[in-house]
């Protein structure tokens, strides 16, 4: 379930037709109107995960780097293996 795609907030609207907090989110060059009611702290420039027209969470950029930290550690292990180091 849950096709949630990361996008960048490019605009926060003041007042909308449906009375909900709305904004524009860009996904690699295409923008869609998204409801921002569930990310009240989000600012223009922040990245959010969008599902079915709603931003569900802000992406924590520092945490996003954790995957790559792990990968660098694993890369070091690979090198050790290749060099035959115990």
């Amino acid at each position: 379930m849950c096709l949630g795609v990361p996008g960048k907030i490019t605009q926060i609207e003041q007042g909308s037709a449906l009375g909900l907090a709305m904004g524009k989110v860009s996904f690699g060059g295409i923008a869609k109107d998204v409801c921002l009611a569930y990310v009240p702290e989000a600012q223009v420039g922040d990245y959010v995960i969008v599902h079915a027209g709603f931003a569900l969470n802000c992406i924590d950029e520092a945490e996003a780097m954790e995957v790559f930290k792990l990968l660098r550690e694993m890369g070091a292990l690979d090198e050790r293996d290749e060099l035959g180091v115990e």
Partner: protein
């Protein structure tokens, strides 16, 4: 009463329909999607009923040999037809009129033919704005002039309000195939290289963007364009080495390649990372939950060519304004005949299956 009983009145209901009618008592949208159900309709109902070699080849157009006097080489005529039911009628980069002209010109080009003339049949819905019709007709005239192909004949009908989407257009076309050109899906063979002329999925996403209110930071226009000149260039560069040409319209690159793989009984292997796609189009596919391989293109060409001419053909593509992003995206292999596989970005293997019905966006 049986089919062969010529004394009894024909009872159409006694005819055994090979598509299980119990499954599909009515036509559904999926039958028009370009995938399996469309294929079923064609292969199980239309082809066996109309039964003739030109149709059975099932290429983008029929190749007909014109009768000759003894001693002359036979002239081959390409004959193609296409109907256009697109909604909205006007979209960024074109309209149903220019689409209709380009579509049939391209079908002829995919047979290796130089288009000679087109026909245009209009089914107009009562209530269609005259200004809309003017725009469409002018667009068709301009498109035909630019390609140098006359719309030489046509027909017009009007249906009651509510019985059509504003306007439906059918274009048919004829063209002459030069003697040294032999394009056919069955010519694809292991070792051949698969080339696409540019970035995929543009037309389908451009249409969706109007329908679904997607905004592109740089306006996305349909890639609808006539490919006859591009094809001439490619044929000049690759000559006999150009085995198959196909324009991946509805059903996308996947449907086109699956059809060819099936017709030639070869396998095709693609490399995901090599497939050219615009970032914004990819973004749209991501958020709509669509696979770009199944999204329609209207100004792109797939060429399956002998390995020896691949570089020359690629260069020829890239010299043309419509082929600048051309790329080699895969190859023809003897393994898994009739199936298309793809090496994913991370190095795994997946099957690129024939579309079942219409591609429906995923939400979950």
């Amino acid at each position: 009463m049986t089919m062969g009983d010529s004394n009894a009145p024909a009872d159409l209901l006694a005819f055994t329909c090979p598509i299980p009618i119990s499954d599909y008592p009515t036509i559904t949208l999926a039958h028009g999607g370009g995938g399996r159900l469309t294929q079923m309709l064609i292969e199980k109902m239309l082809v066996p009923t109309f039964a003739n070699p030109a149709l059975e080849a099932l290429h983008d157009g029929a190749v007909l040999g014109l009768p000759t006097t003894t001693g002359e080489a036979q002239t081959r005529l390409a004959f193609s037809t296409d109907s256009f039911v697109v909604s909205p009628l006007f979209f960024p980069g074109g309209d149903i009129g220019s689409l209709a002209v380009h579509g049939t010109v391209n079908d002829l080009a995919m047979c290796g033919a130089r288009p000679l003339a087109l026909s245009a049949g209009f089914i107009l819905e009562e209530g269609l704005a005259m200004t809309d019709l003017w725009r469409i007709v002018q667009s068709m005239g301009q498109a035909a002039q630019r390609v140098g192909v006359p719309i030489a004949t046509g027909d017009t009908k009007v249906v009651d309000h509510g019985k059509g989407d504003g306007i439906y257009i059918n274009t048919s076309g004829v063209g002459i195939i030069p003697a040294n050109v032999h394009i056919s899906p069955t010519r694809a063979r292991p070792g051949d290289v698969v080339i696409v002329s540019g970035r995929i999925a543009v037309h389908g996403i451009a249409i969706m963007s109007v329908r679904e209110g997607l905004e592109f930071e740089t306006a996305l226009e349909s890639d609808s364009a006539p490919l006859a000149d591009l094809v001439s260039r490619v044929l000049a560069a690759g000559s006999e080495g150009v085995h198959v040409l196909r324009d991946p319209t509805r059903g996308g690159v996947s449907s086109a390649l699956n059809e060819i793989a099936g017709q030639a009984r070869v396998g095709i292997r693609l490399v995901e990372a090599s497939i050219p796609i615009d970032d914004a189009v990819r973004g749209a596919c991501e958020i709509l939950g669509l696979d770009p391989l199944y999204v329609a293109n209207e100004g792109k060409c797939i060429a399956i060519v002998a390995r020896e001419v691949a570089e020359a053909v690629l260069a020829a593509f890239r010299e043309d304004p419509l082929g600048q992003q051309a790329a080699i995206i895969g190859e023809v292999v003897p393994e898994h005949p009739s199936k298309v596989y793809m090496r994913s970005r991370i190095g795994g293997m997946r099957v690129v299956d024939m579309l079942s019905g219409e591609q429906l966006p995923r939400i979950c």
